[in-house]
Symmetry: C2
Subunit: 238 residues, 2 copies
């Protein structure tokens, strides 16, 4: 009566499952729910509740008609999990941008250290595409929805930086901040931002870690200045 809800059967099942998952290699197939429930001494309903929680964390993948498998998701797959946690939680745009400002230079340096030639080419192409769009206004988009989903520059940078908690955090911040960045910037500011991001890409493509971090910091600082004057306030909630 004094302790918290530690006695709940589902907690017990969840913990037992979590232990099993931690000690099992990637791809391991769990026993069927009915059998596993009996082994743990709980009903299938309760077991399914526990499984659902671990599945929501990405530690289990449940495949209807097939089975349940142990997963060890990388940091990048953490973004969709973090997103609902941060959304609608009184998180201001300023906080998200401050996170960007603090962490993204490090991500740029990591990208510079790992960038392959193909990735460098893709990033340069993405920047050039943005520049074209900025100049030519609205050029006809032949991308009839089956093109490989035009990846943004910051996504390419994240790819080059590799699997990392820092990269995941920056990606999350970028996703949440992006809709607010589009509006609220004057054409001149967008022009400047474009060139500064181009400098970032060049430094990354050249493999110069310090230069990449510095260029990113420069870009973020000027962007922060533009946003501060633009009175761009609000929360990241939808």
């Amino acid at each position: 009566m004094s302790e918290a809800g530690v006695n709940r059967v589902v907690e017990q099942a969840r913990d037992a499952l979590a232990t099993f998952v931690k000690n099992a290699p990637e791809g391991t197939k769990l026993p069927p729910e009915r059998q596993l429930a009996q082994r743990l001494g709980v009903s299938r309903t309760t077991l399914r509740d526990g499984v659902s929680r671990l599945a929501q964390l990405g530690l289990l993948e449940v495949r209807h008609g097939d089975g349940t498998y142990v997963r060890s998701p990388g940091a990048s797959q953490l973004v969709p999990l973090l997103r609902p946690l941060v959304e609608g939680r009184h998180t201001t745009l300023e906080e998200l941008f401050e996170l960007k400002r603090r962490v993204e230079p490090a991500v740029a340096a990591m990208a510079a250290g790992n960038c392959t030639d193909a990735q460098a080419t893709a990033m340069r192409a993405a920047i050039q595409r943005e520049r074209d769009e900025f100049n030519g206004a609205a050029l006809p988009r032949r991308t009839s929805r089956k093109s490989p989903q035009r990846r943004q520059v910051h996504e390419l940078i994240a790819d080059a930086a590799g699997e990392s908690l820092l990269v995941a955090l920056v990606s999350l911040a970028n996703e949440l901040v992006a809709p607010y960045l589009a509006k609220g910037l004057s054409p001149a500011q967008r022009r400047l931002a474009l060139e500064q991001r181009s400098a970032v890409v060049e430094a990354i493509a050249a493999g110069e870690e310090e230069a990449a971090a510095d260029a990113m910091e420069l870009y973020l600082n000027s962007l922060a200045r533009a946003l501060k004057n633009g009175a761009l306030h609000g929360t990241a909630a939808d």
Copy 2:
């Protein structure tokens, strides 16, 4: 057959619930599960699954025997939610410490800006306690487990900094890194770290934001140097 599992009934229920939760003020009590299930056209089992997911995100609080309430958790309550997400995900100690290095100076500045006199006193007391323990080795702990749970210095700093995504991230990193910091430091290094943290506390207590950030950065840099030489490698997994 092409789309993902969007047709699953529980998804539908979860979305309906999520919509309701977003548009409901804090503290709102949900209708009983049986009634709500009927209203949404799903079984109670399925409804409970959806509720469980939102509860895991902290958006709902389920109280056995009472009811289910809408919650709008602050950023600080995000730590226990993030923890299982980051644990056991190939997250290296270096990444966590890099996160600290990047973000914690900002947190120190925020703390300096908001610190009350009571909080300053508590922080100074905590530092002094650490200093006493460091000098006097193991002094008798009269804290017979009912003392107010000796809060660590970084916890007090987080309190002073207030509710923020950045603070939550740093708190999480601190929790995960802490067990590795205790061991692996020589007495001389611990001595230096203690004094540098003391300087951080003084700056925060004095309300000097820049000085607090600088002092924290200094502390983290020297700590990083000590760890790099100490060959302190490994993952944050348990």
